[in-house]
Symmetry: C2
Subunit: 198 residues, 2 copies
DNA sequence: TTGACAGGTGACCCATCGTTCACTATAATA
DNA sequence: TATTATAGTGAACGATGGGTCACCTGTCAA
């Protein structure tokens, strides 16, 4: 029960911080959204900043177990169509999962203020995806599915445009459908460009 | 003299909003940074929100005159090397110009809260660059410099990765040199991939 | 010379901020 | 059953937020 409320506070914090930012969120609103009074929050966290730090801890830990270990790498696709399918599945998940959307928003809003948010933002938005697809493309080149090229460069050229459209979805959710179409077109174009010529 | 202070308030607002966000900035701090007392600010703007709106007006107007009109399109390069040079010049400018950095940061921080910031963010980060390079690539295809392809798709594939590294520079300025190197490598790779085979 | 006004000051208003504290209800423990 | 820790309450704290107002001072037009 104790831990339950403690977790619910972090959930509410994620939601409110992602909408109004850390500075724009008050403990009163936060506790009210949980149906308790503001002083109740202080039974679980000693300060607003402690909530923020706990939230960041959780986000960092989640990222680590989800994307940090090599065992969670998606399997290297056996076909180019498999690459397209896998990509669209990943994108589809990430632009619709509320928690992940809120995580990206929080990192976006706090990246200039907090060092740990800054680092995690770079992982989420840039290096994490690039590293992951470097592995995948490397494997696909070995299998002869993609033309021989610098896998890290291809991974960057592949993930960065997709990432920019994911940001668009976060910013303008009503454009999500359109963005998904554009991502699929981009994926097809990428495959057509870099497929092995053998 | 009146207008001078009015402008200086907007300059200070851009600086403080870009660092601490709208909610994280107080009129007291803002006026103090100008060497006057908070009530002095209210001689020029009726509220904090009015300052915000005036700042956004200015940013929108600046963007419009700078990138909105076709006459400000950079000339279509005559060589592939010219494309690389022009790109690096543009990037170099945009990652070092303090005002533009602050503008991007403000748009990043307020994109979920304010509709006009949201729209301008999409232009700055996505559609503006894509549209511009669609024109350029279209011209370069006509000249036979680039292979025949969908110019809008190429523009997107070209500008989005560059844009993501510009964001990295905003977030982690100490990585600017590294990011510039990576952008240049990406540009070269792009050119090698899409140059005309004639 | 006078009067109006633009620009700036400092005291003050009230709401809200994060935080504390004495207190209560509950449920597990000894 | 008595005790004790846990989770939550509600009033209060000082600090700070945005905003107002009476006042001062210099400039310039009438």
């Amino acid at each position: 029960m104790a831990n339950d409320t403690k977790e619910r506070i972090l959930d509410a914090a994620l939601e409110m911080f992602s909408q109004n930012g850390y500075a724009g969120t008050s403990i009163r609103e936060l506790s009210a959204s949980l149906g308790l009074v503001k002083s109740g929050v202080y039974k679980h966290y000693e300060s607003k900043e402690a909530i923020w730090n706990a939230l960041l801890d959780k986000m960092i830990a989640y990222y680590g177990e989800r994307f940090g270990s090599p065992e969670h790498l998606p399997p290297v696709p056996d076909t180019l169509e498999g690459l397209a399918t896998m990509t669209m599945q990943m994108v589809n998940f990430t632009v619709h999962d509320e928690k992940i959307i809120m995580t990206r928003k929080v990192l976006t809003l706090e990246q200039y203020r907090d060092d740990r948010a800054r680092d995690l933002a770079t992982k989420h938005f840039l290096t994490g995806l690039t590293d992951m697809f470097t592995q995948i493309f490397s494997g696909m080149m070995e299998k002869g599915l993609l033309r021989q090229d610098d896998p890290a460069m291809l991974a960057f050229a592949y993930t960065a445009p997709i990432s920019s459209l994911i940001h668009l979805c976060d910013r303008e959710p009503e454009k999500t459908g359109e963005a998904m179409t554009q991502i699929e077109a981009f994926v097809r174009h990428f495959i057509a460009t870099y497929k092995s010529t053998k």
